[in-house]
Structure formats: C-alpha cells, structure tokens
Amino acid sequence: MSCTVSMTVNGKTVSREVEERTLLVAFLREHLGLTGTHVGCDTSQCGACVVHVDGRSVKSCTTLAVQANGTEVTTIEGLAAADGTLHPMQAAFREHHGLQCGFCTPGMVMSAVDLVRDNPNPTEAEIREGLEGNICRCTGYHNIVKAVKAGADAMAGAQPAPVAAE
C-alpha cells in the first residue's frame, strides 16, 4: 500500500515513502512542505495546483505522486532564480497587479509560463484561452492578461528566442 517515490523537485532529488494513493499535490505540500502549490477544488477545474512535470504544466491534484516518479518537477517555489530574482513572469504579475489574494497565483503563474513556452508572443485572446484551466475569483483576469503579455515579452527579451520550439 505504500511505495517509494523519487523525483527531482526544483532541482533537488527527493525520495519519500508514501501511500500509493498520494496525489502529487499532497506529496509536495505535506511530504516536502512545499505549500506554495494550492488546492482550490476537487474536480480538476481550478488550476491552483498547477506545477510543471518535465517542463509541462499539469494539475498536481489530478496526478498521483507515483506517476511523477523519476520526473523533474518545478513548483512555484522553484521558479525564481537561486538569488531570489523573480522569474520574468512573476515580476510581470507584480508589476501589473495580476494577483490579489494570491491563492490562485502559483498555478496561474506556472500555467502562464507553460503557455508562453508554446506561444512566445500570444495575443490577448490566446492568453485568455490558454488560461482556461485556471480560475481566479479576485482579479477579473484583466490584470492577469496584461501580466502574461508583459511576462511573455520579458521572457522573449531575457532569453534567446527558442529556435525550434515544439
């Protein structure tokens, strides 16, 4: 009924003995103490739990920890640089007031980063569509959309544009 789960989380290798029914979000929050990833619903709709598994955004409330065995996981805690410099997307959310209560924010930022990786120069409509898996109750999305656009621009400026993005 329990098993060993090992993965790389925010660059660090971790290994824990957990019940097999443990969700990835519970593994992160309860076993690793990474409480930045949140749970806002139980039907895989709200996106507060979004993390990256092998570079792709997934809902960690709808993923078993064992399914992520051997993968590289990035959570909101691992997005900023080691020296604390915010990722351009985080900085854009701050600059454009893209968050209020902060609860949906980690998932929103992780989704936004994934969205921009697929589409480095998204239109407003593409941003809105790309965030359909993340519900925010505070901001009305207006400033989130602005932030993602600015974050995308900053990401393009901060890094060499990907040559052959998948």
């Binding site: 097999e20 029914r21 969700l23 792709r56 998948e166």
Partner: protein, 263 residues
C-alpha cells in the same frame, strides 16, 4: 481516494496480466479516473499505469491515414506536425479538449475507453472511420461505442492504438458546457470522396451518426444543405445546462459550423 496497489508494467503483455486482477483498473493520463477516485466513486484494488509501455506510444502515418498509440497525450496530438498535415481537424479537436493541463496528461486511449458521452474523441473515431486496435483484436470505430460509458471492450482488454482514415475535408465544431467545458454538443464532419460522415458527441448517451445530415452533405457539401434538417430530440441528454431540444438544435448549428470550417 481509497487505497490501492499501483503497478507500472513496461510491456503490453505484463499490463494484460496485471489487469486480470479482480477490480483492477487501467490508468491512462488519469484525468477522468483520478477525479472519480478522489470522489470515492470507484474502489479499484489495483491501478495499472500504462505510461511506461512503448507499444502504446507514438503517432505514425499508416495507409494514408494516421495510427496513434493509445498512450498518446492530447497535447501531443494537438501539436504533432504529422497530425496537422494529415488530419488537421484531429489536431484541432485535440487542442480543444479540456484545458492545457488536461491535454498535457490525458490520453487518447483513456478517453475512448472511458466513453464519456461528452468526450470529444469519440466523434473523430466514428467520423474518421477509425479502427481501434486492442491487445486482442481490431474493432471498427462504428462498433466501438456501445452506450454511455460503454464500449465493445471486453474486461481486461487494452486499447493499443487507433487508426484514423484521412478525409478529404473535415472539421470539428463544439458547443461547450460553460461550467465544465465538456462538449454539450460536438459535431465532427468528414468527407471522403462522395461519402460524408457526421458524428455527434455530447448530445446523447453515446456518439451517433446523423445520417440525414450525411445524405444531404454528400449531395451538397455546404452548410446550407443542412437547412431544415435536425436530429430528433427524443432520447437526447438533458441537464441544467441544455435541454434535449436545445441540444437537437445545436447539433444542426454545430454541424453547419463544422462544414463551414471544413471549407
């Protein structure tokens, strides 16, 4: 979630053995199964994760159409240059499933084996004259979906791949449930020479073909050819989001939009 034993076989044969355990369930991307388990609506003893089986993966061109491994994620179908080239309507359908995160996990095999009446893929399986290959046999797409959450699969039978025929023209148009974002009505229209297929998902307990639409479009592949046609509202799904007669109406509207999009 109730406790279970997790297994991750690395071959189809091992998976076929593992699934023989009583009350074992196959785990694809888990985007339907895990929410079901979280609500404690199912109590499997074993979960057999199909994610480590090479035979279930990959997208290939086959017989002029496409063969897509059962454990191919929706995002892979949506982003595949091959799919976009051979059957762009299928890529576009995949791009509209659930949300970005669901597409990054959910798999084609999981979707069709689950046979949710409001899932998108069943419409493509039927409209694109697909053949479902399992670890035991081949099943014609037309025979695969047998009812609400019911398929022709036998207990323990594992979907290996789905082979889609290449249409001359095709498009999928969906009217989403505003809350859940599942299809209230999704219509896949595909034209193969003189033959036209119109497969409808979301509207009824299971995907079905709108034959009168097919006849009309075979004669004249234009949206206006569907004027005055509608499916019978009797027997269609009804819930707080859409009554049966609204769904019947939407089938015509979405079919027209699909025809227009198919060009």
């Amino acid at each position: 979630m109730y406790a279970f034993t997790y297994q991750r076989p690395t071959s189809l044969a091992d998976a076929a053995t593992a699934i023989q355990a009583e009350e074992a369930k196959l785990l694809g991307g888990g985007q339907t199964l895990l929410p079901t388990l979280k609500q404690r609506l199912a109590r499997p003893t074993d979960l057999i994760d199909l994610g480590a089986i090479p035979e279930l993966k990959g997208i290939r061109e086959a017989d002029g159409g496409l063969e897509i491994g059962a454990f191919t994620r929706h995002a892979e179908v949506a982003h595949s240059d091959l799919v976009k080239r051979v059957i762009p309507a299928l890529a576009s359908l995949a791009e509209g499933i659930g949300d970005r995160q669901v597409r990054n996990m959910g798999t084609m095999g999981g979707s069709i084996a689950n046979a949710d009446p409001s899932a998108d893929y069943p419409s493509a399986v039927v409209a694109l004259k697909a053949t479902v290959t399992t670890d035991r046999r081949s099943i014609a797409g037309d025979d695969f979906f047998t009812g609400m959450f019911e398929t022709a699969l036998e207990p323990g039978e594992i979907v290996k791949s789905v082979r889609f025929s290449r249409p001359d023209k095709a498009a999928y148009a969906k009217f989403r449930n505003p809350a859940s974002r599942y299809a209230i009505v999704g219509v896949f229209v595909a034209r193969f020479g003189a033959e036209v297929r119109v497969a409808v998902t979301g509207a009824a307990g299971s995907v079905f073909r709108a034959e009168a639409f097919e006849t009309a479009l075979a004669a004249d592949f234009r949206a206006d050819a569907l004027n005055g046609l509608s499916v019978d509202a009797d027997g269609l799904n009804a819930d707080i989001h859409a009554s049966a007669d609204y769904r019947a109406h939407l089938v015509t509207v979405m079919a027209k939009r699909a025809v227009e999009a198919a060009g």
